[in-house]
Point group: C3
Chain length 182, copies 3
Amino acid sequence: MRTDAAKTIEDRIRAIEDRLEIYNLIASHPPSADTAAQSYIQSIFIEDAVLDLGGAKTATGNRAIAEMPQRPAHQEAIKAGLAHFAGLPHVTIDGDRAVVTSYLQILAAHPTADEIEVPAHGVSRGYRIHRVGANRWELQRTPQGWKIKRRAYRTLDGSEPALDILRQALAPPSPDAKTVNV
Amino acid sequence: MRTDAAKTIEDRIRAIEDRLEIYNLIASHPPSADTAAQSYIQSIFIEDAVLDLGGAKTATGNRAIAEMPQRPAHQEAIKAGLAHFAGLPHVTIDGDRAVVTSYLQILAAHPTADEIEVPAHGVSRGYRIHRVGANRWELQRTPQGWKIKRRAYRTLDGSEPALDILRQALAPPSPDAKTVNV
Amino acid sequence: MRTDAAKTIEDRIRAIEDRLEIYNLIASHPPSADTAAQSYIQSIFIEDAVLDLGGAKTATGNRAIAEMPQRPAHQEAIKAGLAHFAGLPHVTIDGDRAVVTSYLQILAAHPTADEIEVPAHGVSRGYRIHRVGANRWELQRTPQGWKIKRRAYRTLDGSEPALDILRQALAPPSPDAKTVNV
């Protein structure tokens, strides 16, 4: 985010406001997943958005995406203790498009571990890290603010798709960065 | 954080500075808890602040709040390896009030797990996630900067109080948002 | 980040841009470590930078630092499922120097735990938290942007070096804060 000499104060403030709005958008993902917030989820994806969680877990359209956490199995996971946990995201903005790369842990209350006491912090079986993965969020500015056009998530298990998401975060912006593709 | 046409440059920059100051405030919580930094903790809560950790774990007043980590049991937990770990927070500012919703892991060195080697990363029994929960921080602007008026924390174990904290982060701001209540 | 009355709009916007550039720098660390991105890592450290991971794990110079993840053992860890996971960092900027204090989890796919199913989230052995520690990043502004001059990392196992890193994040800036030393 080095400053281009040609940028006006207005341009610079707007770029900063974009960045902070995007942080809040990404920060709202775990609360929306962990409460199955159907209408909120629908509102933060564009109408023909794609959610690509790998394999068969793909949904197209913000209605279909927002329905996914309504399944009884997802509700059962919430009841048992579920937490999506977001790390510090890497954000690149280019005009009306942005790409965010972020790590995500999917945590679940451990069903069978021994109860252990931590002094001054009570007794708990603790939580398991069920998965850790990399997200690539492709965002688009809309009249209603920044929204998600495509989210791809891949588990960090040594396989290439997850590593590719991470590598793209480090790549210098390409000359035609307006067209962002995974 | 979409821009209101009526906002001046000064207003907009101040809103951004508020946001970044709040990020640092939230980021200072884990270091203060993990080192039992009594005077620092007292300084970031307003005098009649409330810390509500659920059940009987409640303290009123910044002196009482700052004394909690001084208990021998907390010191024992630090000695054994304790880490509060903060995810990306969601922040909403409204004038001189702000609400932050954030996830927090409470990690403790595992006392009994097998030692496992990770290539190039040594041998360790690892850490347990003792708890994962949602924080609701109600902040207030003071002449000494943003301070905490109320912090509520609930474990994400499928029960309603934690889910309620998360749902409130996704709710559209109410017309009388100046009065923030859990 | 309270505003000094003497600061111009330009100063204030620049301080904000610095902060956001630094967030992206810190956010790029996990992707660079988890993909062993040699040339990227070399580019974000100054030429005579120091990486101090404790004990014998120290490297001097950005070439040596960037070569560390090229070792076969590190590549093996990546293949088995490795994730560096960054919490919300605390940032203090003073002119052309900055200090960042951040928590870092080093996660590895669990090699032996039982497979457990989380409803709607598949079956997995899960991940272990191999280490949790505190980073102190000393940054320097360069003509090519903010770079790392020194990174120290200590495991949060109750020992003083890690606690010292955390305490320094909470200390009021010293009058001669331009000279930052661990």
